[in-house]
Symmetry: C2
Subunit: 719 residues, 2 copies
């Protein structure tokens, strides 16, 4: 019997979709501006569409191959006893996992597509709105962002719910979560490639366009004469929107499924399905809370747009707390678990302030980097690296304290899943505001693009001032989302480990994994390799950006050589147009080629480690893989913290100098084009692939490690 | 009864000291060159002396405070039962540990002092020798390096042996190793500050001198007009010589003591003291082997000096294998353990080739960085970071495979300490050639300084060509030593963990630590914090370089402003001398101030974590600290790999361009002063604090974590 409160899930899903449709209609009603702006918007759309089509064809091929492989492997490797145990045939487990994988992969792809589509459609409209008023521009950007934020989280909720019930969640709730782990794997598999491919694309185009445009040819950013400028604008959409959309889709899905697995123990003990359904319901309330919060964003014409966004965020949080209390009361009836959920919500607030401290120029870290720029690019880089490394302190402390508190409360609750269930509730609490956070995140690239379109369309300085201000706000919201995704990955880590251990013990009841003993030699070596994989992945991801960028640079140089009139038109009224399409095409090909190796690394390496160690007598491969998961998570999160925050700080140190906030000893402003500014531009360029390619991909990597080990678990167990 | 073979230890010690005296006499016999060279040599000596005096006064104060604290803590916290157990009073354990700490600290300081003293005395002589022949210069540099290499390792062997017997090693061999752990802690405590302080000094002076000299004023490197040039030369001696000397002193001491603790179990089972004395004897043979190897270095005038050094190295290795076989045969009588020792020796060979691959311009990584310099400093940095991260692959693989093999052989041996003893034998095998490696390492800064002295003394181009060639060889040997120190830290890791666990179980026999379960919440959080500490330490160390460098830059600018004739003398025959002493003094003060915070971080944080967690009910603080040690080691080693190799690659990419090896698409050489070269200079400057400050300090940090947890063990155990 489903608990009455469960109706919040379909209700929230339906309301959210209606809400999203209303938003789409609202956004689409806004005019696209001048014909030139519409034209640019269309070109961006075509470029993004072309990229996603190719990217998803590649990913689809891989997904189908992986689905077949895991179907066969899981089918063959699942023991007959185990199959009997869960009253599904071996083959049945195999194909169900494979199908779940494909559904997850498809939904993840769809999420990325939605993110990109709506964002692109909102760009030109936001640019046009900025010509009228700041308030209108904020509204368009935020509503455009909200469409993807809400649709993506709704899709994740609906997907998990449907596949849970399709796999017998109602009749056999203790088994269904094990059958749907493939969904999480599929989602994170696609998310990794989406984030990597998009991240490589966007930063290669950005770096490439800047290096030949700004540095070599001395033309401003987003200048229409630069053949790579459209590729740069396309990149914001396929990297930030599609990539982050897929990222948060798989986060919510994987963590939701992990939490359901943890609930099984309590279900078996109490025969109350509420323990398994709790994560779904709490997310339903979170969606409603986020929706109401969105209505509170009413930017005033002379107000900092960030304040308006913050207002909405805090309303969402307050309502989420109410929703959490209601769900806990009706489903779990245990106030310690409410406390655990509050811990997660508190973590999501703290990270906002911490990220602002490290990445806004009001505070010391960014000021230090700007100061260091006075003595050149080398000292700028050294200081930025130092700031980036130091941000791990706050990240580790927030995650560590939140985990200890949530676990303690889970333990105090006396509930069957014990402490780990507490961390699961904390994670679900944190994820309640996910739709709102994702809306703010997508706000970033929309305003960034609007700014670019206005520059290309030759809008006046007042208009650009508005979009410039929005762009700066967008930078902050983008940094916040990364902090949010990072901390949620950290909080979720423990529940996903526990889900893995539960699953090993489910498959190996006679020899349960009671300890992950890192003092065993093979476990220690596994942990060492896991940490190494994070470094190697980062190496390959940033190198991919460099390689792709060099292709773009060659192409731009070629176009400039082939037709000098692109740069210096004889008749300024009719300049020769560069071949934007060619640059987009080259970026697409190179970006997709370069995403393969770093993408396959975290997919294959835990499997290789697990399988190799399985065949060495005396080694416990399942334990080794657990250590790979845990230490990989630790190093992955800290490395992401370094890269995301360091990159953000470098970016804003440059912006601070451009804003005229840096002075020399005599009090003269060191502004644009100064020696310090040139140094800061180098720092910003170095930070770009860190903060937009490898950093965000590392969040996905951490989650992928969890889902892949969950699904591939039977591979590591000797029978 | 001591086994007969034990006499190798005093014999090797005596022979080594005689050998070192012979080398000193030999080096001192060489002339110091022109009066100008002698003068410069004297100024460097005074600067280095002034720095070490202040540095060691600071360190001495801290050491005495720490000795008192650990004396009291260990005395109070050791339970009466335990004290009775080892038939020493509680107070007796306390003061013995404190005294051992002080002796270790003193010897470590002495080792650093020896390293600096001999190196400085050899500089001017090497510079003068280069005016006659390459062979003579190689001989002076290598013999100068060998004095410190051999004296330091002899000191470590003698120190451990004497304190072992002084604390009753002959009558109670199962207890003495526990009493001397303080020696290892003292050694690593001083080594950390020596390496950090010296590393900050050397790189701040280097970066500062370059930025105001080369970049701002356009004068060449090591130009006598630069007020910071002497500080730069002093830095090479106090950083590379004194720092690395203290580093390898504590490595050999700590790993030796750890291996002796592991031997206790076998001693108790067999009543054969050989198990405990084995590490001492095998090191005695290693010293003899290294000494003979040194005789095989006979550089020919037209030969690459690296080949001559390699020849000697391989002779040392061959003889070490023989020595290992003899020791294993007579002391352990188990050929599986010989195999484990071979694994360690093999690891030390492999790392040589791997380091060369990553840091020499014959191979792809450095070439990639040089290529990336064509598009500016940003792409140079991105590529260098990518290369640095990717080096963790080889590091982790070498350490992982060596650990698994050595452990397996230890296990196969059927010996009581089981697998961990195998890794201990592997570590001791690897450390046999330590005197030789350390000699090669000190070769580096001596030639670097000789090069600088010749530049300052205005030597002709032929002479400079010789010292330039030697300098390049010195860069490679420095990189090799770091690789060696890193892999030995990795190999030793497991034996040190085991020593910690043995010690916990010795203190807590009723509740032994049988597993370090990272799936426990507090253990996982401890591991997360440990990884964070490595990032934070790196952040502070490189920031310290930046801060100190800015002080130097200010001073140089001040001197240039105060007396314009320093830069542009009216009468070139009598230029105004800059005030070198002032620059040295400022670097000294700033460097010492900046070393405090990063130095205390790894000392205090494991203690704070252990003590806080000890007082939380249900947590096992001893287990948490074990995880801190293990995960801190993993992340520390990989981070050091990134920093050391990345920094070396950046440096050599710059050298490759200066050597005219980089060409543009049309085949034109992009040499000195080209755009690509400027970009590569930025990369080199960024790499400097990574490879010479934080990277080498991280080796010490890893070992310090091990020794501090060994000593402070009673703090983490609730009775």
């Amino acid at each position: 019997m489903l608990p009455g409160i469960f109706w919040i899930v379909p209700a929230a899903a339906v309301i959210t979709i209606i809400f999203a449709l209303f938003l789409i209609r609202n956004v689409m009603k806004h005019p696209t501006g001048t014909p030139r702006m519409k034209e640019i918007g269309d070109i961006i759309f075509q470029g993004a569409w072309a990229f996603l089509k190719r990217q998803y064809s590649t990913i689809a091929m891989y997904s189908i191959a992986v689905a077949v492989i895991i179907g066969v492997l899981v089918g063959v490797l699942t023991s007959q006893e185990e199959a009997a145990n869960i009253s599904v045939s071996q083959l049945g487990i195999g194909w169900r996992t494979a199908i779940a994988f494909l559904v997850g992969a498809f939904c993840s792809g769809l999420a990325g597509f939605i993110g990109m589509y709506i964002a692109v459609k909102s760009n030109a409209r936001c640019a046009a709105a900025a010509q009228r008023s700041l308030t209108e521009a904020v509204n368009v950007a935020l509503r455009g962002g909200a469409v993807s934020g809400f649709l993506i989280t709704a899709l994740s909720l609906i997907g998990v719910t449907i596949i849970f019930f399709a796999y017998g969640g109602n009749s056999n709730p203790q088994i269904a979560p094990h059958l749907i782990v493939g969904f999480g794997f599929g989602a994170s598999f696609v998310a990794l490639f989406a984030q990597l491919g998009g991240g490589i694309y966007t930063k290669a185009a950005d770096v490439g366009a800047d290096l030949v445009g700004k540095v070599e040819s001395g033309i401003p950013e987003d200048d229409p004469r630069n053949p790579a400028v459209i590729a740069d604008l396309v990149g914001d959409n396929v990297g930030d929107c599609a990539g982050r959309g897929a990222d948060l889709f798989e986060s919510t899905a994987a963590e939701n499924i992990g939490a359901m697995i943890l609930g099984i123990a309590a279900y078996i003990a109490t025969d109350n399905i509420a323990w398994i359904l709790f994560p779904l319901c709490v997310r339903g309330f979170g969606m409603i809370a986020s929706m109401i919060g969105l209505f509170f964003v009413r930017a005033k014409e002379n107000e900092n747009a960030m304040n308006a966004l913050n207002r909405g965020y805090f309303v969402s949080i307050a309502l989420s707390i109410v929703g959490l209390a209601v769900t806990v009361h009706f489903m779990l009836g245990n106030w310690w678990l409410f406390g655990a959920g509050l811990v997660g919500i508190a973590a999501s607030i703290v990270i906002v302030f911490v990220t602002q401290y490290y990445t806004e120029w009001r505070y010391r870290p960014v000021r230090d980097i700007a100061e260091a720029s006075k003595t050149g690019p080398a000292t700028n880089i050294i200081m930025g690296m130092s700031v980036g490394f130091s941000t791990t302190f706050a990240t580790a402390l927030i995650i560590g304290i939140a985990l200890l508190l949530a676990f303690w409360m889970g333990d105090k609750s006396g509930v069957y899943g014990a402490g780990a269930f507490g961390t699961a509730v904390a994670t679900m609490g944190m994820l309640m505001t996910c739709p709102y956070v994702l809306s703010m995140d997508t706000f970033g690239p929309i305003t960034d693009n609007a700014n670019g379109i206005n520059e290309m369309a030759g809008a006046g300085p007042e208009v650009r001032k508005i979009t410039d201000r929005l762009d700066a706000v967008g930078n902050t919201t983008k940094a916040l989302t990364k902090g949010y995704a990072m901390v949620s990955a950290g909080l979720a880590a423990f529940l996903l480990f526990q889900a893995y251990i539960d699953r090993v013990n489910f498959l190996r009841p006679d020899n349960p994994l009671t300890s992950v003993n890192i003092a065993r030699i093979e476990v220690f070596v596994g942990a060492l390799l896991a940490a190494m994989i994070v470094f190697l992945f980062s190496s390959w991801a940033i190198k991919a950006v460099g390689k792709t960028a060099s292709k773009i640079i060659e192409e731009v140089r070629r176009q400039f050589r082939a037709d000098p009139e692109i740069l210096n038109p004889k008749d300024p009224a009719h300049p020769h147009q560069p071949d934007y399409g060619k640059a987009v095409d080259i970026t697409t090909r190179a970006g997709l080629r370069e995403m393969i190796a770093p993408g396959l690394l975290p997919v294959l390496s835990p499997i290789v480690i697990g399988v190799v160690f399985r065949f060495i007598p005396g080694y416990d491969a399942a334990m080794v893989v657990a250590a790979v998961l845990m230490v990989g998570t630790i190093v992955g999160i800290l490395m992401a913290s370094f890269m995301n925050n360091g990159g953000g700080a470098w970016d804003n140190a440059k912006k601070m100098i451009e804003d005229g906030q840096l002075k020399d000893d005599q009090g003269n402003v060191l502004g644009k084009k100064s020696f310090a500014h040139q140094a800061a531009v180098v720092g910003d360029t170095v930070g770009d692939p860190l903060k937009d390619t490898s950093g965000p991909s590392l969040h996905v990597l951490v989650k992928l490690l969890a889902t892949i080990t969950l699904v591939m678990c039977p591979l590591f167990i000797s029978f």
